[in-house]
Symmetry: C2
Subunit: 249 residues, 2 copies
Amino acid sequence: MRILLTLEYDGTGYAGWQRQENALAVQQVVEEAVSALVKRKTVLFGASRTDAGVHALGQRAHFDTDSRIPPEKYAYALNTMLPRDIRVRESRAVADGFHARFSATGKRYRYQIYSAPHAGALNRNTHAHVIYPLDAVKMRAELPALLGRHDFAAFAASGSVVKDTVRTITRAELCGDGPEYTLLIEGNGFLYNMVRIIAGTLIGIGTGKVEPGAFARAIASQSRLDLGVTAPAHGLTLMEVYYHESDCV
Amino acid sequence: MRILLTLEYDGTGYAGWQRQENALAVQQVVEEAVSALVKRKTVLFGASRTDAGVHALGQRAHFDTDSRIPPEKYAYALNTMLPRDIRVRESRAVADGFHARFSATGKRYRYQIYSAPHAGALNRNTHAHVIYPLDAVKMRAELPALLGRHDFAAFAASGSVVKDTVRTITRAELCGDGPEYTLLIEGNGFLYNMVRIIAGTLIGIGTGKVEPGAFARAIASQSRLDLGVTAPAHGLTLMEVYYHESDCV
């Protein structure tokens, strides 16, 4: 039986989603809990390889098991075993052909910004602090340039090896009126660091360090140099992974 | 010169505001930073003795100093010395007769609730988790009973020794439509644990464990037994301390 988990985590204490040597990843912690529960070494397949410090409210991961535990009970059982900064929001059975990563049709992220003279204490791990005032009107005017199907080659971390860099962005909104702002962005897929590069460029436009029109220029030039810096990981949260309705039974 | 600080802190890692033996309090951490900065042992007087786990966005504390540091510079200097979970939002000079606690004319608190089958990971230290669904309409109907000048003797932790238990509540609202809710409450003063007892009773009304009318009954009876349990500390945040306008120059 294939089980799909919806996971929420505070990424502050982890080296990201993906299991690795010499550092604790969210995948490892959840895999160990699942393996202990079903009494067999079990591998998880996550929808998104979130970076160190990045959070999730709606990460998805699937695993296969022979266990007879009713699918919806995994959430309750795993939550008694996991640390408090990782929670299973939901567990359910999916078809054998379903894959948390490859069946995904889209994702939604948020990037949270705190614009104030002093950093915050309560939002220090969830919001990127920007000392300078932000011109939100100017920032909002830039977002429509991202919408639609474009080659986002310029929007990937240098050294990234993906061949097809065409993506479709269906939503890009800056919510809030300060001192906290939230960038909501939704699309059929994202290149490595793409949301953080968009957020960093947008912050640069808001503070005046980046010239307006940067998104349009970078889409045309395919040059990373036309964009701003990569915004810090801890402002980013994976909100939701979308699947075809037929996969969601 | 008397300096007033506005403080924000994540109370998760502290034994509350008040300095104590064998546990680290926010007061001690800030006092040590101020003392190092002005090069003389300095005592802070806080507006509110927040409990262990309780947060603040607008705690106030004053101290006296001979230092010639310009008042508004303390915030910047102290923030380079303090841990990231304590921030000074503002610093300014106040009159010698001003007292962070005794000059206060009112306070505003928020109490955050998360109503869902599973606890949250990202809000685990800022929201009280309630497994059962909440009837927000029923909860909101109870709040007007708190408004006005009443003897809140029933609303204090047992063993509390304050003589005058009359307080005036000027605002009591439940914001949000789930799964997260925020109780906002404002008044000229609060008894020990009063906001947490109000929050716990309100949650009890929302889940059906406490009979509607509890606030009115407890105001009349002055009996703690007419109220629900004390809600957990970590849902509470001290938002603001109010002073006379003439003190705010």
